[in-house]
Symmetry: C2
Subunit: 416 residues, 2 copies
């Protein structure tokens, strides 16, 4: 079968399975998730053997990538645990909200429904296969998964467990399909099949996401970069400011909700920066500052225009002294990737202004940017963090994989 | 200025205005709407004079189109009234929902925010200029409007009133911009400017909408066709069934929420159809039926495969006899354009099944499909009816022009 026929066949099967999944009851979906979790644990040896093939084939990959690729006992246990957590979440499908009577006598409400078929394109980490399948399944969608070619054996081994679990509880095994070829043309076909695929979710580097957004003929839930800011206001509590600035940058470096630029009000810049700098330096963070910052911390590098636009994902921090909250907001709305920004202030009015005017998916007062995350937000699990404004914004959990339809209950009403 | 520079300039101005609109308070927005309404009424003579230029230039257009194009006293009054109604709606922006404490101590909620810049492309009816501007303005967005070339003078005249109203209350006049050229290249430029335009809403025929969806580099809220169904179940109340079937088809023919195909359960087909047919024929509706329908109503045309796929927008109705609700749902989920479907039944379980399994933007029990409309749903006004599942589905009012951001209120919390 050529690649086009293969993908069309996958698409048709997914669309068909999606109809069955949309009406599957909560119990069947949860049973499937728990069964898959058990199967993954029972097949530990097979999963590790399949993973070994990937690790051997990827022997020249860099160490960080190999680490992400590896499956071991602990990671399989955590994959299974993830499925059990998704099973424990409330079923979003069929939820009816806002029921009210209209003057015509009809009763109007909204019912939550699945999107249909979700295509997910991701890199290296094989656990995404189980995570993504779980979220799609729980939200009543069918899914077509395309992992990286470096993890093809691991992904296929996980897929077998998922299909077996679905079958065992009487759900369509085509509800989760993993593309079996590493041929790059498969991605092109997937992105062209808007009659079968309702939304594409890319997970990976900026290059991957930009390419997919450009090529996809269906909507894309995308997560580009995370250039997050913390602004320390003139009326910040000093201890909170120090704690939040340190935690937002240094809790983890390679994550999208880490702070990349610190903004400090000029009235408190000297006091704050002279206390913060030694702490950053102690942790090995390289500081780059604007002219005003350098006037306080003379031995740091000067920040360039490029610094304000960079997601370092590394122990580097750019610092800018600003006049006040207005200048902070302007800087953020210009340079931010609209991911997460936090203000540290005790002033009620300043806090309210920041909350209202900053145009990012998460806007915080007196909290670390590191809280912008599906688990911390109680979504149970997340499929990604959307930096779009359309459809889903911020951490995307089950609800982001659903839509709503209007429902009308009448007693024979007609329009006059 | 060439067309590209002209459009880029428009886009930059819109983006800038959108920042100011996002933080405009409710009072300023409402005052602008009321002021614009007054100005439109005061400038009646000028609007009618501008409209006359369009009517003269369009002398060879067909009568229906000329009628849609015409502005007169009553239509200007209704345009002004529409603006006043939008002013009276609650401001969606800044609405905070779902505030709750998380185990970490942070308090998490969602705040409703504007989308940013909305591009609206529409045909003939000049009142859309005022309607669309009003909805965009109230929802805190900036908008770029592109009307049909046949209504260019009318649209420009309305735009002058809108800008004057914005200016009078101190809002940026660039919040509403009407493209001043009829050059088709302007549309191409608009659809390419995804750095300035966040969403495109096309209003018009299927051809226009398909072309725009294909070309747009930003999300599109689109309304394709309305192939709506009524299914009369075996356990339908006869009177409700007759009323709803007649009203859904004959209340108005050229509207997207009119029924195009009637499905009838075989157990009641003879009784229902023999009563319905004379009523339809009396109203001049042409009937086309499946073989089973023709066995009851022998003198009607046989429906072809094409009929099930057609939005007639005319006094034509296709009729199909189905075995039961399962076959009705299968037919609908196959042929419907996912706009609006209604079941007539007194059976609790059948009604619940239809509500859950029919995959359309509005699903009804015992009510006319004609209720699927922004005003009937209490949205106050509608910018269109979305047949997409992504972002906005069904009648799109103010909320469809907004997004939500997460807000986090903390007391200095950091991630451990």
């Amino acid at each position: 079968m050529d690649i086009k026929d293969y993908m069309q066949d996958l698409g048709e099967k997914a669309r068909k399975a999606s109809r069955l999944m949309a009406k599957a009851d909560s119990n069947a979906k949860d049973k499937a998730l728990l069964t898959i979790a058990d199967i993954l644990e029972q097949r530990k040896a097979e999963l590790i053997a399949a993973n070994k093939l990937d690790l051997e084939a990827g022997a020249d990959l860099e160490a960080a990538m190999l680490d992400r690729l590896e499956l071991n006992d602990a990671r399989i246990a955590s994959m299974a645990e993830g499925l059990r957590q998704v099973a424990a979440l409330a079923d979003p499908i069929g939820e009816v909200s806002d029921m009210k009577y209209r003057p015509s006598g009809i009763q109007l409400g909204k019912m939550r429904v699945p999107l249909g078929v979700i295509g997910i394109i991701y890199e290296s980490r094989p656990n995404v296969t189980a995570d993504a399948a779980a979220l799609a399944l729980k939200s009543g969608n069918a899914t077509i998964l395309r992992g990286g070619s470096e993890s093809i054996h691991s992904n296929q081994a996980i897929a077998i467990c998922v299909k077996e679990g679905l079958q065992k509880v009487g759900l369509p095994e085509d509800a989760v399909q993993v593309i079996e070829t590493t041929d790059r043309a498969a991605v092109g076909e997937l992105l062209a099949m808007n009659e079968f695929v309702d939304v594409i979710i890319p997970r990976g580097g900026k290059g991957l996401i930009e390419r997919i957004s450009k090529e996809a003929t269906m909507p894309v839930i995308k997560h580009l970069d995370g250039i997050c800011h913390v602004y320390i206001d003139e009326q910040a509590d000093l201890t909170k400011a120090i704690n939040i600035a340190i935690n937002s940058k240094t809790h983890r470096y390679g994550v999208c909700n880490a702070m990349e630029t610190l903004l400090v009000a000029e009235a408190v810049a000297e006091k704050i920066l002279s206390q913060l700098a030694p702490k950053y330096i102690e942790k090995g963070v390289e500081l780059r500052g604007c002219a005003a910052t350098k006037a306080i911390l003379s031995d740091i590098v000067e920040a360039t225009e490029e610094d304000w636009q960079t997601e370092y994902l590394a122990p580097i921090l750019s610092i800018k002294v600003v006049k006040n909250v207005d200048e902070a907001i302007d800087h953020i709305n210009h340079y931010s990737s609209q991911h997460t920004e936090s203000i540290v202030t005790e002033n009620y009015t300043t806090g309210r202004q920041f909350l209202r005017e900053v145009d990012s998916s998460s806007v915080m007062i007196n909290a670390s940017t590191r809280f912008a995350d599906g688990f911390e937000y109680g979504l149970g699990a997340e499929i990604g963090i959307s930096t779009d404004k359309f459809h889903a914004r911020g951490p995307v959990g089950l609800e982001g994989l659903t839509s709503q339809k209007y429902i009308v209950l009448g007693d024979g009403q007609i329009r006059e």
